[in-house]
């Protein structure tokens, strides 16, 4: 039994039960691996390959094909700003630029405290709510830098509270 099988037995079982073929579970398993290791690490790839009866190189190429699997460690908060055309028409490129500048990061980079990674993404299917971003898979909509600063402070405070508790 590998780490994922031990810690996520129920979720893995529910996932496998959906499909006639184990291989179909690879995408869901990669999300679980990412949750466990913070990114799709080599251990994560190995674990997933074992569950899905696949070759680790195949699992790795699947992970590389999709943008939502992180192939390197990221900050705690992964900020994916939509800068695609409809959002860009509503000022999203400037928002993305200002956010990076505020956090002192380049495209795809992580803030020094390891808290925030910023990158731009294509259309998130919420163009009527521009500018917006997805943070750890949840959307935050109708943003500007003022609202963003409040959110960033809030997220920092949440993490600090957790650290102080433990």
């Amino acid at each position: 039994m590998n780490t994922l099988q031990e810690k996520y037995a129920d979720r893995i079982e529910t996932t496998l039960a959906k499909y006639p073929d184990k291989r179909s579970a690879v995408m869901a398993l990669l999300y679980i691996a990412q949750e466990e290791y913070g990114w799709v690490s080599p251990e994560g790839i190995q674990d997933v390959a074992e569950v899905c009866d696949m070759d680790p190189t195949q699992v790795k190429s699947i992970a590389g094909f999709y943008t939502m699997y992180s192939e390197r460690p990221k900050g705690r908060f992964w900020l994916q700003v939509c800068t695609d055309l409809p959002c860009a028409l509503k000022g999203a490129e400037k928002f993305h630029h200002d956010l990076k500048e505020y956090l002192g990061v380049d495209e795809g980079g992580t803030s020094e405290d390891g808290m925030f990674t910023v990158e731009h993404v294509m259309c998130l299917a919420a163009c009527d709510k521009a500018p917006l971003l997805q943070c750890n898979f949840h959307n935050y909509e109708h943003l500007d830098m003022e609202k963003m600063k409040v959110l960033l402070d809030q997220w920092r405070a949440e993490v600090n509270a957790q650290v102080n508790k433990s």
Partner: protein, 449 residues
């Protein structure tokens, strides 16, 4: 008569919840369909003229009739990938009226004798998928379908089809139906060579005959079964029956989804619903079908055009998924071409050379033009690169990716001319956004199919 066939949350708050949906006629269409023969159900959908809302407009009933009924295992796949730039309607359906889509998918499953339904959601719909799972579980527990399903079909057989969600992970190409099937099978999400088609043995999910339908398409089906094809055809015009959800974005005062009968004009959509130009400017251009369809120059003739599958053809454009991106006169059309081309360059799955290399070159030359370093021959160059992509690729993505270049040059030649003859220069240093990672590089790794 109310026109909210799909956005029924406007009439019935909280219809997203199973109890509320059930109390308001929910799942009656499924019961009615089960009391009929499969052929009757398919014939009703055929007679309604319902056409696919995922972009291609293929007649839905005809698609269902291709499935061999004597095959022991068939599948229904719901396309909830919704990744076309400017499209955000399927999200609203799933967030606010998910059971109507589920019910439509179940009716399809009965009609084509499917063993199971898979709903493929783009990975960014993480929250949507989890809420959907909870609603599916409620309906399943009520005995409407699944292993403990209590309903019986016309022959007295229990209805035990089950429904599952499958989350993608960020790849536009997985909206293409055969790439989507590969993705569910745990393979790279790249399109398949056709034939065999998904409806054929050997071409669908796990090689079994499969219907792939868009979320909005299926959400229409319960209404059609309840009210009949004749009533449905009274809405809309000509061969475009029913309502369509228009995703309105860009430089309008009131962006959003509008469910309206086919035949509404651009003028009505942009002014009566959209509230007119955002900053008091003038409308200049419309992308009626997201990034992938040909661009339109706004004229009175265009504004008075009824929005149907047929009427946009006279401008060489398409209605597609009806993602209407509106731009005012502050917009530089060459920048638009570049912006949309970057999307396609990022999203090319890398399988065919003309698409992979073509999008790379188009992007590079458009960047050069926008940096002020373009020559007149560059416009001819990108036109010929784009035209060469169109007939030679494995899937329609190649055509989509060439459209922004071809049609911005055709419709707004003066904008390109101004850049390459030096009358227009870059305003300031523009940070050209680069994607953090290219999909193509990943696809070059071992494919493993």
């Amino acid at each position: 008569m109310s026109l909210n066939i799909i956005f029924r949350e406007k009439d019935i708050p909280n219809i997203r919840e199973f109890d509320v949906y059930s109390k308001n006629g929910g799942y009656e269409a499924l019961k009615k369909a089960l009391s009929q023969t499969r052929k009757q159900v398919i014939d009703e959908v055929k007679a309604s003229n319902l056409r696919g809302r995922g972009g291609a407009g293929f007649p839905t009933g005809v698609k269902w009739s291709f499935i061999p009924q004597d095959n022991p295992i068939n599948y229904v796949v719901v396309n909830a990938d919704e990744s076309e730039t400017g499209t955000f309607k399927d999200r609203q359906i799933m967030e606010n009226n998910p059971h109507q889509m589920i019910e439509g998918a179940l009716i399809c499953a009965y009609a084509i004798k499917a063993a199971a339904v898979y709903i493929y959601l783009r990975g960014e719909f993480w929250d949507v998928a989890h809420a959907l799972d909870a609603e599916i579980a409620r309906a399943r527990k009520a005995g409407l379908f699944g292993p403990n399903g209590k309903l019986k079909d016309a022959d007295g057989n229990p209805f035990k089809v089950d429904i599952f969600t499958h989350l993608g992970a960020g790849a536009y190409i997985c909206g293409e139906e055969t790439a989507l099937l590969n993705s569910i099978e745990g393979k790279l999400g790249q399109p398949r060579v056709r034939p065999p088609f998904p409806a054929n043995k050997g071409g669908g999910l796990y090689n079994e005959p499969t219907v792939v339908n868009n979320v909005e398409t299926l959400a229409n089906v319960p209404w059609i079964i309840n009210n009949g094809a004749e009533e449905y055809k009274k809405i809309g015009v000509g061969s475009s029956s029913g309502t369509k959800i228009f995703c309105l974005s860009g430089h309008v005062k009131n962006p959003g989804n509008y469910e309206l009968p086919f035949g509404v004009t651009f003028r009505q959509l942009l002014y009566d619903y959209g509230g007119g130009p955002l900053n008091g400017g003038e409308f200049k251009a419309i992308l009626p079908s997201g990034g992938s369809g040909p661009i339109l120059r706004v004229t009175d003739e265009v504004l008075d055009t009824p929005l149907t599958y047929d009427d946009l053809r006279k401008f060489n454009s398409i209605l597609g998924s009806a993602s209407v991106i509106v731009m005012d006169d502050t917009v530089d059309i060459v920048w638009v071409a570049s912006k949309v081309t970057k999307f396609f360059k990022h999203e090319s799955c890398g399988k065919c050379t003309p698409c992979r290399e073509g999008t790379y070159w188009l992007d590079k030359v458009l960047d050069r033009i926008l940096a002020g370093g373009g020559k007149e021959s560059d416009v001819d160059l990108i036109m010929s690169v784009a035209k060469n992509m169109q007939p030679t690729t494995l899937c329609a993505f190649g055509e989509f990716a060439a459209n922004p270049t071809i049609w911005t040059i055709n419709v707004f030649p003066e904008e390109f001319k101004a850049w390459v003859d030096g009358s227009k220069k870059p305003a300031e240093e523009k940070a050209v956004a680069r994607p953090a990672r290219e999909r193509v590089a990943a696809a070059a790794a071992p494919a493993g199919d």
